[in-house]
């Protein structure tokens, strides 16, 4: 379980602090996906960085299985907004980097790597560098890296936002199918209402900066690509749009 308890985070020095997250409390049960949605600059990336132990918080806590987040002890799969691939590493080395650093090389079987790479359709790109890949291909490599790691928690920052619509749908499918295999506890940040409904079992809406939780919605349409036409989908999408708009203008 990932839990935020009254989490407050701010940037800047003492005298000119800018609050980015204000009293955020969320629980994401083990083995589920939560989608976080909110206006630009509301603190979505900040929330993930706090969950990954990358930034200090002023008060409150970020916990993984009731223990304070600690990248040295827990295995955290973090996918930053910009994919986080190392430009100087080949695709293969980028994929293996995470398991190497976590000293999990011995538990990774060749067949696992091959199967994963095949599933993501990047088996022919392994010796290329990130600069030689399209955005969608880089995204696949980043997915391969975190899923090979088999992390305790998975944190994804707008993973599919910069892709074109068709590629995004493909990537969402791939993500769903990878996730179904391991059910890793996941927070996925997005700014698309449609994506939140497809990929979030729980949808969390943040207000504009400083971010607060303004709604937490359990979503029964998770993983259902064919729900688009249904009454329920329309109502939920309408409600989310409303909430995001309200959070933005509040």
């Amino acid at each position: 379980m990932i839990s935020f308890r009254n989490l407050c985070v701010s940037y800047g020095r003492q005298n000119e602090k800018r609050v980015a997250l204000n009293d955020v409390s969320i629980d994401i049960p083990t083995g589920s996906v939560a989608a976080v949605i909110g206006p630009s600059g509301c603190g979505k990336s900040t929330l993930l960085k706090a969950a990954a132990g990358l930034i200090e918080h002023d008060s409150g806590s970020a916990l993984i299985d009731e223990k304070p987040v600690n990248p040295h002890e827990q295995v955290i799969g973090f996918m930053p907004q910009s994919y986080g691939l190392m430009p100087w590493k080949t695709v293969r080395d980028n994929i293996m980097m995470a398991v190497k650093i976590k000293k999990r090389m011995s538990s990774v079987k060749r067949e696992d790597v091959d199967a994963l790479v095949q599933k993501l359709g990047i088996e022919n790109l392994l010796s290329l560098y990130p600069a030689e890949l399209s955005g969608g291909q880089q995204q696949r490599v980043a997915l391969a890296r975190v899923f090979l790691l088999r992390p305790d928690v998975l944190l994804m920052d707008e993973p599919f936002s910069s892709l074109d619509a068709i590629t995004r749908e493909d990537m969402q499918e791939i993500f769903l199918s990878l996730w179904q295999d391991c059910h890793v506890t996941t927070i996925m940040v997005t700014h698309f209402v449609e994506e939140a409904i497809l990929l979030g079992q729980k949808i969390i809406v943040l207000s504009k900066s400083p971010g607060r939780v303004i709604a937490e919605i359990d979503n029964s349409l998770f993983g259902n690509r064919n729900a688009h036409e249904s009454e329920e989908y329309m109502r939920l999408a309408e409600r989310l749009h409303e909430l995001v708009r309200k959070g933005r203008d509040a």
Binding site: L54, P71, G84, P87, M97, I101
Partner: protein, 245 residues
């Protein structure tokens, strides 16, 4: 530059020299053919010894500057504390023309190899420290996130980010420093030694042996070019990711 372009450049330079020497037509500017003949006849008898001395001095100072400068640049770039302590020193020492320190260094270490190597070292060292530090400063925070979220050690961060990210600027600084270092090498070899390309060239000049003097200049230039090409080749190997397209 492709190999063929470099070759064309050399050919053009020699053609120009030839043309000028034909126009001037005085011992002051012998033709490239004469110089080439001279080089081939005296290279192993005399020039070679001088060349190895010069090469030894420059390579040793280069290696020392890398061994000391690279870790220092990394520390200054990555650890704010190290930066705070060392930056003022580096900032003040960097613009001092190192060649102006030569008298002091010679008083301390004598006129032999040690003082020459120390001066060359200082020239290359500061370039490396500054280039590596700036390269590391320029790495965006996000680049470290995937590693930090894995609880990576400093060693992991060095191997996976700091080292590869600073290599391109490191090589550029080496190239820049090398040009200065070769000029200074020449200068320091004009006294306190009877070995080195600087000595060879000035000695030929004093003996009014222009053909030998030009032979020395050509060999020294070729040496510089070879060092440059060596850096290029190593860079292409080490930073292959920079050259993909």
């Amino acid at each position: 530059m492709k190999g063929i372009d470099k070759l064309l450049g050399v050919v053009a330079l020699i053609a120009l020299w030839w043309l000028l020497s034909a126009i001037v037509s005085r011992p002051l500017l012998p033709s490239p053919l004469k110089v080439a003949q001279n080089i081939s006849s005296i290279f192993f008898q005399s020039i070679f010894v001088h060349m190895t001395h010069s090469l030894f001095r420059i390579l040793l100072s280069l290696v020392l500057a890398i061994i000391v400068g690279l870790p220092l640049g990394v520390m200054m770039g990555y650890f704010p504390h190290a930066e705070r302590v060392l930056a003022p020193i580096v900032y003040l020492a960097y613009p001092v023309p190192k060649i102006a320190l030569l008298p002091i260094v010679m008083l301390a270490l004598g006129v032999g190899d040690a003082s020459k190597i120390v001066i060359l070292f200082l020239i290359v060292f500061f370039q490396i420290v500054i280039a590596v530090r700036d390269a590391i400063h320029a790495i965006p925070d996000e680049t470290f996130y995937p590693l930090l979220s894995l609880g990576a050690s400093f060693c992991d961060i060095f191997v996976n980010v700091l080292w590869p990210a600073s290599l391109p600027k490191f090589f550029t600084s080496l190239r820049v420093a090398m040009a200065t270092a070769i000029s200074v090498l020449f200068f320091t070899e004009t006294f306190g030694t009877i070995h080195g390309m600087g000595y060879f060239i000035m000695d030929a000049w004093l003996r009014v042996s222009y053909v030998e003097m030009y032979s020395g200049i050509v060999v020294l230039s070729a040496m510089g070019l070879a060092l440059f090409m060596m850096i290029d080749v190593i860079e292409h190997r080490a930073c292959r990711w920079q050259y993909v397209k």
